[in-house]
């Protein structure tokens, strides 16, 4: 069985599961945010139950429109907070809050071998830890809060193997943009992606989170990484409950195996309006930008900020450009502060904000006007994603974003750091 099948069969109390089979699986963690929780809570109310099945396994992270951007958002946050208090579930107030998919792994709440469901499509980020983590809607979350389990159709697994020596400035973001560019936004529809190969073995945990995060951008249900020593090093000091490591069988059956030579992959830029419009940065041409955003659940971790700071250090943000840096969690913020990264950003003329989704979904703290163009380290560049339907978003890694913030146009980091 593949890694996904191993985890699902264990959670369905079955010896084996087959792709296409409908099963009911036990869940280890249920997640919702300030946008999706209110509907889940409303639907949960329809069930006429007093209590959720297990408050320890439910967590709400108000990260999208917080610090509350307007009265309506504040009401949604308040409703979520009240429900969390009444039920005794997990809840992260401003000050502890981070972007959910950065925060939960960091706190050891997502662990290897888990089944995690979240009312947020990027819940798949947890796959970096060898968990089966997947996004669902609010009604699914409501039902799971009641029963502790959820129906699933077992996905076929597609295997992605990366070999060769990775180029300078290429990271997890580039591998995944390249892959999505290759297979398309529905290239892994209804499937689980399993990432492996020597390049993945060498990839940092932060790089793996970035890749798992964007599995949904290929239509996948989950994106999983086999657990290795790096995973265990990450998880051990964080875990506060038992977990189980599953490995794919050697004779596992994959619906498809894709092999990539990483040596041929340049830093990628996805052009508007699809993550699949990926091109090498050298072929993007002369694209002037109005804003750079470095952050989000894709690239808002410490390693991302280190890379960006390494490029920005000693330079100034191009005049007329807004450069917004959003650490993914309070911990990332604090670590970056201690390392002096924040000073580099601020003295270069960038702004650093509190952890939030904010502009990534066109919410607040950096929304785009008509005709504006943003280079973002986020995961989606759909029409209107960051603001006006007449604005444009390009996706790239933090190195490209930092280099572009200095020049005011989309730029390869090689041009800044010779």
């Amino acid at each position: 069985m593949t890694l996904a099948e191993k985890i699902l069969s264990a959670h369905a109390n079955q010896k084996q599961v087959m792709p296409g089979e409908f099963i009911t699986v036990r869940v280890d963690l249920i997640l919702a945010n300030d946008i999706t929780a209110p509907i889940a809570i409303r639907e949960f109310g329809q069930l006429g139950l007093e209590r959720v099945f297990d408050p320890q396994k439910i967590v709400f992270v108000p990260d999208h429109f917080t610090p509350a951007k307007d009265i309506a958002s504040a009401e949604q946050v308040k409703l979520t907070q009240q429900f969390a208090r009444e039920q005794g579930t997990g809840y992260f107030e401003l000050g502890q809050m981070g972007i959910e998919h950065v925060l939960l792994p960091e706190l050891g709440m997502v662990l290897p071998g888990d089944v995690v469901i979240g009312a947020d499509s990027h819940t798949c980020t947890g796959g970096a830890l060898g968990a089966f983590a997947t996004g669902m809607g609010s009604t699914d979350i409501a039902a799971a809060m009641a029963t502790g389990d959820i129906w699933m159709k077992v996905p076929p697994t597609l295997k992605f193997v990366y070999r060769g020596n990775i180029k300078k400035w290429v990271g997890g973001k580039d591998l995944i943009l390249y892959t999505i560019g290759d297979i398309g936004v529905d290239g892994a529809l209804y499937s689980a992606m399993e990432f492996s190969g020597p390049v993945i073995d060498r990839l940092s945990m932060d790089g793996r989170f970035t890749m798992a995060n964007m599995a949904i951008e290929a239509g996948a249900k989950a994106g999983l990484f086999p657990v290795d020593a790096k995973t265990i090093d990450y998880v051990k000091p964080r875990a506060r409950r038992a977990y189980k490591v599953y490995q794919p069988d050697n004779d596992a059956e994959y619906a498809r195996v894709m092999e990539y030579d990483a040596a041929k992959i340049e830093p990628q830029v996805s052009l508007p309006h699809s993550p699949a419009n990926a091109k090498p940065v050298s072929q993007v041409g002369d694209i002037k930008i109005d804003q750079v955003l470095i952050g989000s659940c894709t690239n808002g971790r410490l390693e991302d900020l280190r890379i960006a700071a390494g490029i920005i250090k000693g330079s100034k943000i191009h005049p007329g450009i807004r450069c917004i840096i959003i650490p993914g969690s309070q911990q990332v913020y604090l670590d970056a502060l201690k390392e002096g990264l924040m000073e580099i950003f601020v003295s270069a003329g960038a702004v650093v904000t509190t952890p939030t989704c904010g502009p990534c979904l066109g919410g607040h703290m950096g929304v785009l006007a008509d005709g504006e163009c943003c280079l973002a380290t986020t995961n989606r560049n759909f029409v209107g994603r960051m603001g006006s339907p007449e604005s444009e978003v390009y996706l790239a890694n933090p190195a490209v974003a930092a280099a572009s913030a200095i020049t005011g146009k989309i730029t390869s980091p090689e041009e800044i750091i010779k």
Binding site: T36, D140, V185
Partner: protein, 170 residues
Amino acid sequence: MLKGRVHKYGADVNTDAIIPARYLNVSEPAQLTRHCMEDIDRDFVKKVKAGDIIVATTNFGCGSSREHAPLAIKASGVSCIIAQSFARIFFRNAINIGLPLLECAEAVANTGAGDILEIDLSGGKIKNLTKNMSFTATPYPDFMAELISAGGLIEFTRKRLASRRHQSEV
């Protein structure tokens, strides 16, 4: 039997197009409908009538997990969506909240904007009355059919909880 006029779209209609994130500071379906399809079809809200049908090509509903997307479509009066394929989370969400979806590549290929369709959901039969053609959609797997006939996931869960209670009493 459903009957309605077709609104036709292409591939990869994403949830940000169906209901832009900037409007998600509320969750009441009636409020969401005001911006339904806004970034892909500005006039949709003005044009749509109760019973209308959305027809699209591949990967309809891709992107975020927001249930606001099928909720907005359902509350705007759309009775059914027919596509060549749907994004996974959108498919789940729509079934869970009782918005019927059908997969039928043939019907999609042979239907244009403004056509009138008649749909018999139980047999997955689609009739294009404008072009006088008939199609059959991919049947639902048994489990999904059960979920749909229960009236969506909440009703389905209510029954499961009741039978659990019953079992623990026996």
